[in-house]
Symmetry: C2
Subunit: 378 residues, 2 copies
């Protein structure tokens, strides 16, 4: 018996399966065209099902931020990059407990973090590939000069259980499709070249140079030396991705289905999608506007509490009816997915499938009972 | 074998059990002193364990926003208020499937929503108590005049399976401890009196008048007619509650334990608590500052990405060390709890207990497998 959107309890994230397929195919075609390797970041979908599709379409492996993501993705992939500083005993211990079939790579930015990693790898009886994370303008993490990056790489080479695998950077500060930011892209290109040169001159030419992000994805082939990209958001896209020109509005595959739950306040229609569904992620320079009504894009959620959203109707002809369903295109889809345990896959108004957000949360090894139902060491 | 904070993988929410006990006792004492009934909102803790403590300390029942919260709390409570408009077929169906031992109350603001509720209650073979939600300045939901509130109450009385139980309002717009807002409190008091008078004159004197919120909690006894309060945040408190004077800094019971994971960028120490741990909830008029380091309160997280937080050190003498653990006092604790599956209870540096955030998420009846492991109808 078919289920239709009208039967779903809201708020719930729904994915247009045709748009998802198109988004996956487009990125696969882009990297093939430019001879880049694709290692998509799973932080956006947190789903082994979508990860399996990405791998089937040619991805060389997956990128994870959390160890829970890595554990869940190890069910469908044997080549995982944990693109996060391997700092902290519990994190290292958990990293080494990943299944033996998984080839583990991590990104490190500090020689001081490598002694513990080297010991952990030895005790874990595994070789860990290390990408040296470099800061090319994001100023979040990363070695801040070629000399410092070389020091990290040399420290890696000194550890018997570690192997230098190349460089990683994250160009999250660049909106590559905004013309004014073209100079930033050129600057990044020049800076990266210096890092590559210094390492190469020292006999440590980076086998992999991993960049990426969805906003910069379609321009990464212009950066000399880059071999791999790590976009995440492209599978679903969102208002931010569309606004900065990295996708079209019609490429937004995930929306939050919501219901108008109150129309008593004059000129207003409250919906049941608030911060606990949409998150409170602003669009740069747009202020407090958190998601657009797909059916009425000029109506933007401008006020929220935890379980309530209030669309701004001042520029819209939409007059909300009590009980009416609408789809909200969120500003930042990764945050929406992080709040839900399941995604509904639809075509038109029909529910076709559903899948768990299996890598949501932390499910750490200190957890007595895992929300995903898997037994965990205490 | 004892576990200590140093052994925990971060980020993880930890609760100072002594502060939690103090917070629970203080509110129980306040309502006893003033002859108010306490129906705490579970949205903050989403935990049947803490709810059971609240009931043991005299709470008359619990307040829920979502049906999943109500389902989980039905395990420890037989008197639940779903303080949310009962709109949408799926929501009504699920409401009626609550266990028979639960006395169900809902808040409604629109006569148009009551026909479906009345039918659902009849089919569900249960009597549903209805509080008429009124708008006393929050302008989010609620009947906007005494006449409209009376119309809702009379509509309730006409439905055989519904019973008029009183009035509900949410003073979320009032920071009751900020002196400038004293006039707002007086205005609210006068408005509420009008609603009570009009309903009483029509023979529908409200048995219950339910107000609340943590910010206004300690002043609700000044509002004539109020019989019940519904605070939620008071169990844990947060930076917002402290800033508006509804608790002291030392009453903040929940912090996010985080680790310094990168110190390569000059004058900066990045931690592993970002928007997927802290949320992006601003303090009013403080701008982009999302949580204070407990050990160094002048260091405030001012930049975040999903798994990274960057404390602003410009006003702090703190110099982060790689691998150092810190506790972050979040701006809005409800959002933090909503992102995690488990809470760690500590005394000093020792882990004493842990409990699941059992009512986190939606676990709707459309869910094939519940993250909490409970079987659900499909």
């Amino acid at each position: 018996m078919a289920t239709y959107l009208e039967q779903l309890e809201t708020p719930v994230p729904i994915v247009d399966l045709d748009r998802l397929t198109t988004n996956l195919d487009r990125m696969a075609a882009y990297v093939t065209l430019h001879g880049l390797q694709l290692r998509p970041h799973v932080k956006t979908h947190k789903s082994p099902r979508i990860a399996a599709d990405q791998l089937r379409l040619g991805a060389v492996g997956l990128t994870c931020a959390t160890l829970h993501e890595a554990e869940v993705m190890s069910e469908v992939c044997d080549d995982l990059l944990v693109a996060y500083p391997p700092v902290g005993a519990a994190r290292l211990e958990r990293l080494m407990r990943l299944p033996d079939h998984v080839r583990v790579r991590v990104a490190a930015d500090d020689p001081a973090s490598l002694d513990a990693l080297g010991v952990a790898a030895k005790l874990g009886r595994r070789i860990v590939d290390v990408l040296v994370e470099v800061d090319l303008g994001m100023h979040r993490v990363g070695a801040t000069s070629p000399a410092k990056a070389l020091a990290v790489a040399q420290q890696v080479e000194r550890a018997s259980a570690l192997r230098f695998a190349g460089l990683q950077f994250y160009p999250g500060h660049i909106r590559a499709h905004v013309n004014e930011q073209a100079p930033l892209l050129r600057q990044l290109s020049q800076d990266l070249a210096q890092y590559i040169d210094v390492l190469s001159d020292a006999g440590l030419a980076p086998p992999t140079v991993s960049g990426g992000s969805t906003p910069a994805a379609w321009r990464m082939h212009e950066i000399a030396g880059v071999t791999e990209v790590r976009p995440g958001t492209y599978v679903y896209n969102d208002r931010t991705t569309a606004q900065i020109g990295a996708c079209d509005w019609d490429d937004c595959a995930l929306t939050v289905l919501a219901t108008v739950i109150s129309t008593t306040v004059k000129g207003q229609g409250g919906i049941d999608a608030g911060t606990k569904a949409l998150g409170r992620e602003p669009l740069r320079a747009e202020g407090e506007r958190y998601g657009a009504v797909l059916e009425h894009p000029d109506a933007v959620v401008s006020r929220m509490s935890e379980e309530h959203g209030i669309p701004d109707l001042s520029k819209s002809s939409w007059r909300p009816r009590l009980g009416e369903q609408v789809r909200i295109v969120p500003n930042h889809v990764c945050i929406v997915v992080h709040q839900f345990d399941e995604i509904i896959g639809v075509r038109g108004h029909a529910v076709e499938t559903r899948w768990p957000v299996a890598a949501r949360g932390r499910a750490s090894n200190q957890t007595l009972e895992s929300p995903a139902g898997r037994p965990r060491a205490v």
